[in-house]
Symmetry: C2
Subunit: 200 residues, 2 copies
Protein backbone atom coordinates (compact mmCIF):
# COMPACT_ATOMS: atom_id res chain seq x y z
CA UNK A 1 0.00 0.00 0.00
CA UNK A 2 1.38 3.38 -1.00
CA UNK A 3 1.86 6.04 1.69
CA UNK A 4 -1.09 8.34 2.44
CA UNK A 5 -1.21 11.78 0.91
CA UNK A 6 -0.68 14.41 3.59
CA UNK A 7 -3.25 17.17 3.55
CA UNK A 8 -2.39 20.23 5.66
CA UNK A 9 -5.08 22.83 6.13
CA UNK A 10 -6.45 25.50 8.46
CA UNK A 11 -10.18 25.31 9.17
CA UNK A 12 -10.39 29.07 8.52
CA UNK A 13 -9.08 28.72 4.96
CA UNK A 14 -11.64 28.91 2.13
CA UNK A 15 -9.23 27.25 -0.28
CA UNK A 16 -8.69 24.51 2.28
CA UNK A 17 -12.46 23.96 2.27
CA UNK A 18 -12.53 23.65 -1.52
CA UNK A 19 -9.72 21.09 -1.35
CA UNK A 20 -11.44 19.21 1.50
CA UNK A 21 -14.37 18.48 -0.79
CA UNK A 22 -12.14 16.83 -3.37
CA UNK A 23 -9.03 15.36 -1.76
CA UNK A 24 -10.35 11.99 -0.55
CA UNK A 25 -11.91 11.10 -3.92
CA UNK A 26 -8.84 12.32 -5.75
CA UNK A 27 -6.55 10.16 -3.62
CA UNK A 28 -8.84 7.13 -3.91
CA UNK A 29 -8.67 7.30 -7.71
CA UNK A 30 -4.96 6.54 -7.33
CA UNK A 31 -5.17 3.95 -4.57
CA UNK A 32 -4.20 6.38 -1.84
CA UNK A 33 -5.68 7.48 1.44
CA UNK A 34 -5.37 10.93 2.98
CA UNK A 35 -3.83 11.92 6.29
CA UNK A 36 -5.73 15.07 7.35
CA UNK A 37 -3.55 17.57 9.19
CA UNK A 38 -5.21 20.73 10.53
CA UNK A 39 -2.71 23.32 11.75
CA UNK A 40 -2.78 26.99 12.74
CA UNK A 41 -1.96 29.05 9.67
CA UNK A 42 -1.51 32.20 11.77
CA UNK A 43 1.58 30.65 13.36
CA UNK A 44 3.04 29.99 9.91
CA UNK A 45 2.23 33.57 8.91
CA UNK A 46 4.43 34.78 11.76
CA UNK A 47 7.31 32.90 10.13
CA UNK A 48 6.68 34.13 6.60
CA UNK A 49 5.56 37.65 7.44
CA UNK A 50 2.21 37.16 5.72
CA UNK A 51 -1.15 38.51 6.80
CA UNK A 52 -4.58 37.01 6.12
CA UNK A 53 -5.37 37.45 2.41
CA UNK A 54 -8.49 39.51 2.86
CA UNK A 55 -6.62 42.06 4.98
CA UNK A 56 -4.15 42.83 2.20
CA UNK A 57 -4.68 45.72 -0.23
CA UNK A 58 -5.40 44.55 -3.79
CA UNK A 59 -5.04 40.89 -2.83
CA UNK A 60 -8.02 40.98 -0.49
CA UNK A 61 -10.68 42.01 -3.04
CA UNK A 62 -9.28 39.58 -5.61
CA UNK A 63 -9.44 36.63 -3.27
CA UNK A 64 -12.92 37.46 -1.98
CA UNK A 65 -14.02 37.34 -5.62
CA UNK A 66 -11.98 34.22 -6.29
CA UNK A 67 -13.26 32.23 -3.28
CA UNK A 68 -16.81 32.40 -4.61
CA UNK A 69 -15.81 31.98 -8.24
CA UNK A 70 -13.71 28.89 -7.42
CA UNK A 71 -16.57 27.33 -5.45
CA UNK A 72 -19.04 28.06 -8.26
CA UNK A 73 -16.75 26.37 -10.78
CA UNK A 74 -16.72 23.24 -8.63
CA UNK A 75 -20.46 23.36 -7.99
CA UNK A 76 -19.85 23.71 -4.24
CA UNK A 77 -21.89 25.87 -1.87
CA UNK A 78 -19.94 28.81 -0.48
CA UNK A 79 -20.73 31.33 2.23
CA UNK A 80 -18.05 33.37 3.92
CA UNK A 81 -18.72 33.38 7.69
CA UNK A 82 -18.74 36.54 9.79
CA UNK A 83 -16.32 37.50 11.17
CA UNK A 84 -13.67 36.48 8.70
CA UNK A 85 -10.84 35.69 9.18
CA UNK A 86 -11.18 33.83 12.48
CA UNK A 87 -9.01 31.45 14.54
CA UNK A 88 -10.13 27.83 14.26
CA UNK A 89 -8.49 26.59 17.43
CA UNK A 90 -11.39 24.64 18.98
CA UNK A 91 -12.16 22.79 15.74
CA UNK A 92 -8.51 21.88 15.25
CA UNK A 93 -8.23 20.56 18.81
CA UNK A 94 -11.44 18.59 18.38
CA UNK A 95 -9.96 16.96 15.30
CA UNK A 96 -6.83 15.76 17.09
CA UNK A 97 -8.84 14.58 20.08
CA UNK A 98 -11.01 12.48 17.78
CA UNK A 99 -8.16 11.32 15.56
CA UNK A 100 -6.49 9.58 18.51
CA UNK A 101 -9.70 7.54 18.90
CA UNK A 102 -10.88 7.00 15.30
CA UNK A 103 -8.87 8.55 12.47
CA UNK A 104 -11.42 7.78 9.74
CA UNK A 105 -14.19 9.37 11.79
CA UNK A 106 -11.97 12.39 12.49
CA UNK A 107 -11.51 12.89 8.73
CA UNK A 108 -15.27 12.78 8.17
CA UNK A 109 -15.76 15.17 11.07
CA UNK A 110 -13.23 17.58 9.54
CA UNK A 111 -15.23 17.57 6.33
CA UNK A 112 -18.41 18.25 8.26
CA UNK A 113 -16.77 21.15 10.10
CA UNK A 114 -15.62 22.66 6.80
CA UNK A 115 -19.14 22.32 5.36
CA UNK A 116 -20.55 24.14 8.34
CA UNK A 117 -18.05 26.95 8.06
CA UNK A 118 -17.92 27.63 4.34
CA UNK A 119 -20.94 25.77 3.01
CA UNK A 120 -23.33 27.16 5.64
CA UNK A 121 -21.34 30.23 6.74
CA UNK A 122 -21.27 29.38 10.45
CA UNK A 123 -18.16 28.88 12.55
CA UNK A 124 -18.38 26.23 15.28
CA UNK A 125 -16.13 28.27 17.52
CA UNK A 126 -16.64 26.48 20.83
CA UNK A 127 -17.27 23.07 22.34
CA UNK A 128 -21.07 23.44 22.28
CA UNK A 129 -21.17 24.24 18.58
CA UNK A 130 -18.77 21.41 17.80
CA UNK A 131 -20.75 18.95 19.92
CA UNK A 132 -23.89 19.86 18.01
CA UNK A 133 -22.15 18.96 14.75
CA UNK A 134 -20.64 15.83 16.26
CA UNK A 135 -23.81 14.32 17.72
CA UNK A 136 -25.38 13.10 14.44
CA UNK A 137 -22.09 11.36 13.66
CA UNK A 138 -22.23 9.36 16.90
CA UNK A 139 -19.48 11.37 18.58
CA UNK A 140 -19.89 11.96 22.33
CA UNK A 141 -20.24 15.74 22.78
CA UNK A 142 -19.30 15.79 26.48
CA UNK A 143 -16.15 13.79 25.82
CA UNK A 144 -15.31 16.07 22.89
CA UNK A 145 -15.75 19.17 25.08
CA UNK A 146 -13.45 17.67 27.70
CA UNK A 147 -10.97 16.75 24.97
CA UNK A 148 -10.76 20.30 23.65
CA UNK A 149 -9.70 21.47 27.11
CA UNK A 150 -7.24 18.66 27.72
CA UNK A 151 -3.70 20.07 27.98
CA UNK A 152 -2.40 17.04 26.07
CA UNK A 153 -4.69 17.89 23.13
CA UNK A 154 -3.66 21.53 23.22
CA UNK A 155 -0.06 20.33 23.05
CA UNK A 156 -0.96 18.01 20.18
CA UNK A 157 -2.19 20.91 18.05
CA UNK A 158 0.85 23.01 18.89
CA UNK A 159 3.07 20.08 17.96
CA UNK A 160 1.20 19.44 14.69
CA UNK A 161 1.56 23.13 13.79
CA UNK A 162 5.25 23.21 14.63
CA UNK A 163 5.88 20.02 12.65
CA UNK A 164 4.05 21.43 9.64
CA UNK A 165 6.09 24.63 9.65
CA UNK A 166 9.35 22.80 10.23
CA UNK A 167 8.54 20.73 7.19
CA UNK A 168 7.91 23.79 5.01
CA UNK A 169 4.14 24.26 5.16
CA UNK A 170 3.25 27.96 4.85
CA UNK A 171 -0.25 27.98 3.35
CA UNK A 172 -3.56 26.16 3.22
CA UNK A 173 -4.16 23.77 1.62
CA UNK A 174 -0.68 22.27 1.42
CA UNK A 175 -0.26 18.72 0.17
CA UNK A 176 2.64 16.28 0.20
CA UNK A 177 2.81 13.24 -2.03
CA UNK A 178 5.73 11.06 -0.94
CA UNK A 179 7.51 14.22 0.21
CA UNK A 180 6.70 16.32 -2.88
CA UNK A 181 5.03 19.62 -1.84
CA UNK A 182 2.09 21.29 -3.55
CA UNK A 183 0.61 24.56 -2.27
CA UNK A 184 -2.88 25.74 -3.08
CA UNK A 185 -6.20 24.27 -4.10
CA UNK A 186 -5.52 25.32 -7.69
CA UNK A 187 -2.71 22.75 -7.74
CA UNK A 188 -5.05 19.81 -7.26
CA UNK A 189 -4.86 19.15 -11.00
CA UNK A 190 -1.10 18.81 -10.66
CA UNK A 191 -1.50 16.68 -7.54
CA UNK A 192 -3.62 14.29 -9.59
CA UNK A 193 -1.16 14.38 -12.47
CA UNK A 194 1.74 13.66 -10.09
CA UNK A 195 -0.12 10.65 -8.72
CA UNK A 196 -1.01 9.37 -12.19
CA UNK A 197 2.46 9.81 -13.69
CA UNK A 198 4.54 9.23 -10.56
CA UNK A 199 6.12 12.66 -10.94
CA UNK A 200 7.66 14.42 -13.91
CA UNK B 1 -13.66 40.58 -33.02
CA UNK B 2 -13.59 39.89 -29.29
CA UNK B 3 -11.46 42.11 -27.07
CA UNK B 4 -7.83 41.10 -26.54
CA UNK B 5 -6.85 39.25 -23.39
CA UNK B 6 -4.75 41.50 -21.18
CA UNK B 7 -1.55 39.92 -19.96
CA UNK B 8 0.22 41.76 -17.13
CA UNK B 9 3.68 40.57 -16.18
CA UNK B 10 7.04 41.62 -14.79
CA UNK B 11 10.08 40.53 -16.78
CA UNK B 12 11.70 39.38 -13.52
CA UNK B 13 8.88 36.92 -12.79
CA UNK B 14 9.57 33.22 -13.47
CA UNK B 15 5.84 32.45 -13.49
CA UNK B 16 5.37 35.31 -15.95
CA UNK B 17 7.93 33.62 -18.20
CA UNK B 18 6.06 30.32 -18.05
CA UNK B 19 2.84 32.10 -18.99
CA UNK B 20 4.58 34.05 -21.78
CA UNK B 21 5.38 30.77 -23.52
CA UNK B 22 1.70 29.77 -23.61
CA UNK B 23 -0.55 32.82 -23.63
CA UNK B 24 -0.58 33.70 -27.35
CA UNK B 25 -1.40 30.14 -28.45
CA UNK B 26 -4.00 29.81 -25.71
CA UNK B 27 -5.73 33.02 -26.78
CA UNK B 28 -5.56 32.10 -30.48
CA UNK B 29 -7.38 28.83 -29.79
CA UNK B 30 -10.33 30.98 -28.75
CA UNK B 31 -10.09 33.64 -31.46
CA UNK B 32 -8.40 36.17 -29.20
CA UNK B 33 -5.25 38.20 -29.34
CA UNK B 34 -3.14 39.25 -26.35
CA UNK B 35 -2.28 42.74 -25.15
CA UNK B 36 1.09 42.36 -23.43
CA UNK B 37 1.51 44.66 -20.44
CA UNK B 38 4.85 44.65 -18.60
CA UNK B 39 4.77 46.52 -15.32
CA UNK B 40 7.00 46.89 -12.27
CA UNK B 41 5.92 44.31 -9.71
CA UNK B 42 8.03 45.94 -7.00
CA UNK B 43 5.75 48.98 -7.07
CA UNK B 44 2.71 46.73 -6.55
CA UNK B 45 4.54 45.00 -3.69
CA UNK B 46 4.79 48.36 -1.94
CA UNK B 47 0.99 48.53 -2.02
CA UNK B 48 0.38 44.98 -0.83
CA UNK B 49 3.26 44.74 1.63
CA UNK B 50 4.74 41.74 -0.18
CA UNK B 51 8.40 40.94 -0.70
CA UNK B 52 9.94 38.94 -3.54
CA UNK B 53 8.99 35.27 -3.09
CA UNK B 54 12.52 33.94 -2.81
CA UNK B 55 13.31 36.33 0.05
CA UNK B 56 10.49 34.96 2.22
CA UNK B 57 11.11 32.20 4.79
CA UNK B 58 9.41 28.90 3.86
CA UNK B 59 7.89 30.38 0.71
CA UNK B 60 11.28 31.03 -0.89
CA UNK B 61 12.53 27.43 -0.94
CA UNK B 62 9.14 26.15 -2.10
CA UNK B 63 8.99 28.51 -5.03
CA UNK B 64 12.58 27.91 -6.08
CA UNK B 65 11.64 24.23 -6.28
CA UNK B 66 8.34 25.00 -7.98
CA UNK B 67 9.79 27.30 -10.68
CA UNK B 68 11.90 24.45 -12.03
CA UNK B 69 9.24 21.80 -11.50
CA UNK B 70 6.62 23.89 -13.32
CA UNK B 71 8.96 24.49 -16.26
CA UNK B 72 9.84 20.78 -16.44
CA UNK B 73 6.16 19.88 -16.54
CA UNK B 74 5.67 22.19 -19.52
CA UNK B 75 8.83 20.97 -21.25
CA UNK B 76 10.30 24.50 -21.11
CA UNK B 77 13.95 25.35 -20.48
CA UNK B 78 14.51 27.09 -17.15
CA UNK B 79 17.56 28.78 -15.66
CA UNK B 80 17.29 31.22 -12.81
CA UNK B 81 19.57 34.20 -13.58
CA UNK B 82 22.05 35.63 -11.08
CA UNK B 83 21.33 37.84 -9.25
CA UNK B 84 17.70 37.04 -8.61
CA UNK B 85 15.45 38.89 -8.01
CA UNK B 86 16.36 41.85 -10.20
CA UNK B 87 14.60 44.97 -11.49
CA UNK B 88 13.61 44.69 -15.16
CA UNK B 89 13.30 48.39 -15.86
CA UNK B 90 15.28 48.66 -19.10
CA UNK B 91 13.47 45.72 -20.71
CA UNK B 92 10.07 47.11 -19.73
CA UNK B 93 10.91 50.52 -21.17
CA UNK B 94 12.19 48.90 -24.36
CA UNK B 95 8.87 47.10 -24.71
CA UNK B 96 6.80 50.30 -24.50
CA UNK B 97 9.17 52.13 -26.84
CA UNK B 98 8.72 49.37 -29.42
CA UNK B 99 5.01 48.93 -28.84
CA UNK B 100 4.33 52.50 -29.92
CA UNK B 101 5.97 51.61 -33.23
CA UNK B 102 4.90 47.99 -33.85
CA UNK B 103 2.79 46.25 -31.20
CA UNK B 104 3.07 42.76 -32.74
CA UNK B 105 6.84 43.05 -32.91
CA UNK B 106 6.91 44.30 -29.32
CA UNK B 107 5.07 41.17 -28.21
CA UNK B 108 7.57 38.94 -30.02
CA UNK B 109 10.41 40.93 -28.49
CA UNK B 110 8.92 40.46 -25.02
CA UNK B 111 8.90 36.71 -25.58
CA UNK B 112 12.52 36.83 -26.72
CA UNK B 113 13.51 38.83 -23.64
CA UNK B 114 11.82 36.29 -21.37
CA UNK B 115 13.60 33.43 -23.16
CA UNK B 116 16.92 35.14 -22.61
CA UNK B 117 16.22 35.69 -18.91
CA UNK B 118 14.71 32.40 -17.82
CA UNK B 119 15.48 30.08 -20.73
CA UNK B 120 19.15 31.08 -20.94
CA UNK B 121 19.61 32.57 -17.46
CA UNK B 122 20.91 35.98 -18.61
CA UNK B 123 19.32 39.33 -17.82
CA UNK B 124 19.55 41.96 -20.58
CA UNK B 125 19.84 44.72 -18.01
CA UNK B 126 20.94 47.61 -20.21
CA UNK B 127 20.52 49.09 -23.66
CA UNK B 128 23.51 47.22 -25.12
CA UNK B 129 22.22 43.82 -24.02
CA UNK B 130 18.73 44.61 -25.28
CA UNK B 131 20.06 45.89 -28.60
CA UNK B 132 21.95 42.62 -29.07
CA UNK B 133 18.70 40.69 -28.63
CA UNK B 134 16.79 43.12 -30.83
CA UNK B 135 19.15 43.14 -33.83
CA UNK B 136 18.23 39.69 -35.24
CA UNK B 137 14.58 40.76 -35.11
CA UNK B 138 15.25 43.78 -37.31
CA UNK B 139 14.93 46.28 -34.47
CA UNK B 140 17.27 49.30 -34.59
CA UNK B 141 19.49 49.02 -31.51
CA UNK B 142 20.56 52.67 -31.47
CA UNK B 143 16.95 53.85 -31.66
CA UNK B 144 16.03 51.38 -28.92
CA UNK B 145 18.83 52.68 -26.68
CA UNK B 146 17.63 56.24 -27.21
CA UNK B 147 14.06 55.13 -26.52
CA UNK B 148 14.97 53.61 -23.16
CA UNK B 149 16.34 56.97 -22.07
CA UNK B 150 13.47 59.03 -23.44
CA UNK B 151 11.58 60.72 -20.56
CA UNK B 152 8.30 60.03 -22.38
CA UNK B 153 9.04 56.30 -22.37
CA UNK B 154 10.02 56.38 -18.70
CA UNK B 155 6.67 58.05 -18.04
CA UNK B 156 4.91 55.43 -20.14
CA UNK B 157 6.21 52.61 -17.93
CA UNK B 158 5.29 54.47 -14.76
CA UNK B 159 1.82 55.09 -16.17
CA UNK B 160 1.40 51.44 -17.21
CA UNK B 161 2.45 50.33 -13.73
CA UNK B 162 0.10 52.78 -12.01
CA UNK B 163 -2.81 51.75 -14.26
CA UNK B 164 -2.17 48.08 -13.54
CA UNK B 165 -2.18 48.61 -9.78
CA UNK B 166 -5.23 50.88 -9.91
CA UNK B 167 -7.01 48.12 -11.75
CA UNK B 168 -6.13 45.52 -9.11
CA UNK B 169 -3.01 43.83 -10.48
CA UNK B 170 -0.76 42.66 -7.64
CA UNK B 171 1.18 39.71 -9.08
CA UNK B 172 2.75 38.29 -12.21
CA UNK B 173 1.31 36.94 -14.40
CA UNK B 174 -2.08 38.58 -14.04
CA UNK B 175 -4.65 38.15 -16.80
CA UNK B 176 -7.94 39.84 -17.58
CA UNK B 177 -10.54 38.37 -19.89
CA UNK B 178 -13.24 40.98 -20.55
CA UNK B 179 -12.56 42.39 -17.08
CA UNK B 180 -12.42 39.04 -15.27
CA UNK B 181 -9.13 38.74 -13.30
CA UNK B 182 -6.94 35.65 -13.00
CA UNK B 183 -3.72 35.66 -11.02
CA UNK B 184 -0.92 33.17 -11.50
CA UNK B 185 0.41 30.91 -14.23
CA UNK B 186 -1.31 27.96 -12.55
CA UNK B 187 -4.64 29.57 -13.47
CA UNK B 188 -4.02 29.26 -17.21
CA UNK B 189 -6.23 26.19 -17.25
CA UNK B 190 -9.06 28.28 -15.81
CA UNK B 191 -8.29 31.09 -18.24
CA UNK B 192 -8.76 28.63 -21.08
CA UNK B 193 -11.93 27.25 -19.49
CA UNK B 194 -13.32 30.77 -19.05
CA UNK B 195 -12.70 31.51 -22.72
CA UNK B 196 -14.25 28.22 -23.84
CA UNK B 197 -17.34 28.46 -21.63
CA UNK B 198 -17.70 32.24 -21.54
CA UNK B 199 -17.49 32.20 -17.75
CA UNK B 200 -19.20 30.10 -15.12
Amino acid sequence: MAEPIEFYFDFSSPYGYLASCQIDDLAARHGRTVRWRPFLLGVAFKETGQKPLVEQPLRGPYHLHDFARSARRLGLPFRLPTPFPFAAIAASRAFYWLEARDAALANRFAKRIYQRIFGEGQVPADAAALAELAAPMGIDGAALAAGINDPAIKDRLRQATDEAIKRGVFGSPFIYIDGEPFWGHDRLGQVEEWLARGGW
